[in-house]
Symmetry: C2
Subunit: 203 residues, 2 copies
């Protein structure tokens, strides 16, 4: 694909990540720029969206994590167990408790012990909760749409498909290091750098 059938690489506009990867080149030449670039961009984008959510949602008296919790709950139809939320929101169990407690105090949801299985708790969105969620919803979605909107529908599909394949690999247990060990690997050292929680505020 070095074929350069279309536009020369140099002509394309560069984003922050291009510069970032370039700075790394001399330090770790064996690093694959596309692996590095893709991973870094995903991190930055995730971060960026998080920040937007934080700000946009603030106008409705919510914090990002509060909105996310309500959102996760709404996604389950307004009813869920802490365990389901824990999975959807990708949190430690202890964190779920904290979030639910705060939201319950604000009257956005109710927790009731499940009669069916008394280890469980049923979490349910209240009318106030659904309303708060609803109002903040558009703001959040608008940014995702604005960003992903620069791609054609076909390209979005393509992006999503590529990512699915990567994620399927991620969902597999990982083959235990041992093997190649330190030496070989050669892999692109994970830029860890900006990635990680640091990630995304733009520019």
């Amino acid at each position: 694909m070095t074929r350069a059938t279309h536009r020369a690489v140099a002509d394309r506009p560069r984003d922050w990540t291009d510069g970032h990867v370039e700075r790394w080149r001399p330090v770790l030449p064996q690093l694959d720029p596309d692996v590095e670039g893709a991973v870094t961009r995903m991190s930055k984008l995730t971060r960026h969206l998080g920040r937007v959510r934080e700000q946009g949602v603030a106008d409705y008296g919510l914090q990002k994590h509060e909105f996310d919790t309500l959102h996760g709950l709404a996604g389950r139809g307004g009813r869920a167990t802490p365990s389901e939320l824990r999975a959807d929101l990708n949190l430690a169990p202890a964190s779920v408790t904290g979030r639910l407690e705060a939201l319950e105090r604000r009257g956005f949801l109710v927790r009731t012990p499940s009669s069916d299985d008394r280890r469980r708790v049923d979490v349910e969105l209240t009318e106030a909760g659904r309303l708060a969620w609803r109002k903040a919803l558009d703001v959040v979605g608008r940014e995702e749409q604005r960003l992903l909107g620069v791609l054609t529908p076909a390209e979005r599909r393509q992006l999503s498909d590529l990512l699915r394949r990567v994620l399927l690999a991620a969902e597999q247990p990982a083959p235990e290091a041992g093997a190649g060990d330190g030496a070989g690997a050669g892999a692109g050292a994970g830029t860890g750098a900006d990635r990680q929680e640091a990630g995304g505020r733009h520019a």
Copy 2:
């Protein structure tokens, strides 16, 4: 590798996100599955890599955020100012101070007031720091390589390119809500769900 690029949609293996998006469908039908899918997957992948970094790096006596800091420093050739690190790692200024202090105590870096501009501080990687970074490096890169390795080089390039276009949009100030406003938007509500970064903790 991975030759089977095409295959009926129905035949393709499903990842966690497929189920997630599917659950959302009835709640927000106007949501674009590909926007939602892509965003969710990026978030999950970022999260996953963070987790791997956390674990892998632990074998070398480092925590994710410590490694990331050393990594960012190494990426600048071993010398940088707190401000540069703040930008690369995308942290609040206060967080940088905390990280540097901890790493300095461990002898992985040194901070010295810049003689040139006395507001500044020069941060420099020590030999011990570079060594710790170096040893943990392979572990981290291996996972990125494993995951992105399921794509062909051309596909990786494609992924990186698609993301660059999205990020370029993100790097632009955002067009101030007001405009189209509420109505349209319809966009895919930010699944907020698992997205959002918790912030890493130690091993």
